[in-house]
């Protein structure tokens, strides 16, 4: 099993979710996060006081997937979340040691 963490632009979330549902991803966790990479921050000005914010808002998606599905998940996210501009985000894949469905106690791929 793989644990996939994707950081994407917030306005791409709906598109990515629909594309993942279409390839059989049954669930995900989404959080609003802030961070920085190569994309420059923004400048905010309040009555002449300038603040440069180098943390930009992003959305983090977390998905647990079977070893078979994981490459397709990564490819789907990469293709739907891309705008071909800096700041599109990153996808990380980790090995997942176990997964358990709380309601039934099922473990492994069947819990996903």
């Amino acid at each position: 099993m793989k644990f996939i963490i994707a950081i994407i632009k917030p306005f791409k979330l709906d598109e990515v979710r629909e594309a993942l549902s279409a390839i059989g991803v049954a669930g995900m966790t989404v959080s609003e996060v802030k961070g920085f990479g190569r994309q420059k921050g923004q400048t905010e000005i309040y009555r002449g006081a300038e603040y440069s914010t180098n943390m930009l808002p992003k959305v983090k998606i977390e998905i647990a997937a079977s070893d078979d599905l994981a490459p397709l998940v990564v490819e789907t996210i990469q293709q739907t979340a891309s705008t071909e501009a800096i700041g599109d985000g990153k996808i990380f894949v980790l090995d997942l040691a176990s997964a358990t469905r709380i309601r039934t106690g099922e473990a492994g791929d069947t819990a996903l």
């Binding site: 905010e44 000005i45 309040y46 009555r47 002449g48 006081a49 603040y51 914010t53």
Partner: protein, 493 residues
């Protein structure tokens, strides 16, 4: 409330005109070729000099009374929620409630202080040790004020029930100290601040209000030609409180922010406003409430009231526009905070001039004030590095000074202004106007207010800081005043 009472001019003129017109028709019908002179004489003699309380009871207009009660409500709305939201939106979310709470409690305390001794100190002269500078205590705890006592307006033989006047003026005493808290928001202890406000009202606000706004009234002044406050007697024009409210509070704020010191992390940590939505709501409600503040300051519902009303509308619009234009030029983007700040600067500037200017000169004043205030909040403040958190000095004091001095210009009848109304004669009439001399008088009034309020504020801040401490601990300030001073959070989600 000005006090070279020009404001009554419109109403008085109109009512006299209709009365004399009717009289003239009758006279013309019965006595052919009657001379015009007796009309004026007849009108004048129908006015009662120094009326008794019984006579005053017949000189109260229900329209005036209703308008003044409505205006009082509008001015209360300017403090809570308008000012509280305007300020609250500009602080960080951890300090939101502290600002709302300070404004709310100041309003509550000021109302009690006002009926306790404020009204008497501001609007009486009998029994005072220095009647030009402060009133006496004859009406302390509203002694002698009943539903059957009356307060003068600017017109001969037009009165308000005294409670109406007490309430209207009370709302001004409520908002003025509340304006000050913006200068040292996010870093002050609650109860010592409340003590400061009680003392500041007593030693700064009531004397300045007395000096600028107290006078015997148009039916009594001719027989008591020195029964007025010092600045009123000097001829200073302040229709709705440029000196008494905005300069007074603005300088107190500056002194406060200098003496309390900068916020921890000032200039190093980002302190962006937590909700400009709240600030927009607050600024908009301030604009609405300000019609009660300015137009209500005419004390009657008549033509001059309408002048103050439209001036308040267009000066504000012009200032909102000019702030945005300056921002567009300077930063390439017009901001919501900018337009809200510009509107408030315009409201502040038109306050002393509202009943004297014309709509067109009001627009010029509005266009002028925003660039000047912008310069102070975005350049001077950064250069001098004082931490006036919400720009009480840059907007209220500077805007107030611009408005107070400009009042001397826009009031000139040569520019269409209302001029100066001489209440030392009976009935009151239009006096000669000298723009240069009036501007000098305005500047003197501004300086006296700055020195008086600045000195009183410095002494009070120093004493209270020494005895009780004004500044919360560093830990409390970092944690936020909502939790450490009030034990609650603004937003629990």
């Amino acid at each position: 409330m000005i006090r070279k009472v020009i404001c009554g001019a419109g109403a008085l003129g109109t009512s006299l005109m209709s009365a004399t017109a009717a009289f003239a028709q009758e006279a013309a019908a019965s006595v052919a070729a009657a001379a015009p002179a007796p009309e004026a004489a007849a009108a004048a003699t129908s006015l009662i000099k120094a009326p008794s309380v019984e006579q005053m009871a017949g000189m109260v207009d229900k329209g005036d009374t209703a308008w003044m009660l409505m205006s009082s409500v509008l001015v209360l709305m300017m403090s809570i929620p308008a000012l509280a939201l305007f300020y609250g939106g500009l602080v960080r979310s951890k300090n939101m409630l502290s600002v709302l709470m300070q404004v709310f409690m100041i309003v509550s305390i000021a109302a009690l202080v006002w009926v306790g001794w404020g009204y008497s100190l501001a609007f009486t002269s009998a029994g005072s040790i220095a009647p030009a500078f402060i009133g006496g205590l004859d009406k302390a705890f509203l002694a002698g004020v009943t539903s059957g006592t009356f307060a003068a307006t600017f017109s001969n033989n037009v009165y308000l029930p005294e409670f109406v006047f007490v309430v209207f003026q009370m709302t001004f005493a409520c908002i003025t100290p509340a304006l000050i808290v913006g200068a040292f928001a996010e870093r002050v202890k609650f109860w010592p601040l409340m003590l400061f406000m009680v003392l500041w009202l007593t030693f700064a606000y009531f004397p300045i209000a007395h000096m600028v706004w107290y006078w015997a009234g148009p039916d009594f002044l001719p027989d008591a030609p020195t029964d007025y406050g010092y600045l009123w007697g000097m001829g200073a024009l302040d229709f709705a409180g440029g000196t008494v409210v905005h300069i007074n509070a603005g300088i107190a704020g500056l002194v406060g922010c200098l003496m309390i010191g900068k916020r921890i992390g000032f200039g190093k940590e980002a302190t962006p406003p937590h909700s400009l939505t709240m600030t927009m709501i607050g600024a908009s409600l301030l604009w609405v409430g300000w019609f009660g503040f300015n137009a209500g300051s005419n004390l009657e519902a008549n033509g001059v009231t309408a002048v103050a009303f439209i001036n308040t509308f267009v000066a504000t619009a012009a200032a909102a526009l000019s702030w945005s234009v300056v921002e567009q030029i300077h930063h390439k983007k017009p901001s919501m905070l900018g337009v809200a700040t510009g509107a408030v600067a315009g409201l502040v500037a038109i306050t002393p001039a509202s009943g004297f200017a014309t709509p067109m000169t009001s627009i010029y004043l509005g266009l002028l004030v925003s660039p000047l205030c912008y310069f102070f909040v975005s350049y001077v403040k950064n250069k001098l590095k004082y931490d006036d958190t919400l720009d009480v000095f840059g907007v209220h004091c500077i805007g107030g000074i611009v408005g107070a001095i400009a009042t001397g210009v826009v009031a000139d009848p040569a520019l269409g202004g209302q001029g100066y109304f001489d209440s030392t004669q009976f009935p009151a009439g239009v006096g000669a106007y000298d723009m240069g001399a009036q501007v000098m008088t305005q500047i003197k009034a501004v300086l006296i207010t700055l020195v008086w309020s600045g000195t009183v504020s410095a002494v009070l801040f120093f004493a209270i800081d020494k005895i009780f401490g004004l500044r919360p601990s560093e830990e409390a300030e970092r944690e936020g005043l909502d939790i450490t001073e009030h034990g609650e959070r603004a937003y629990n989600s």
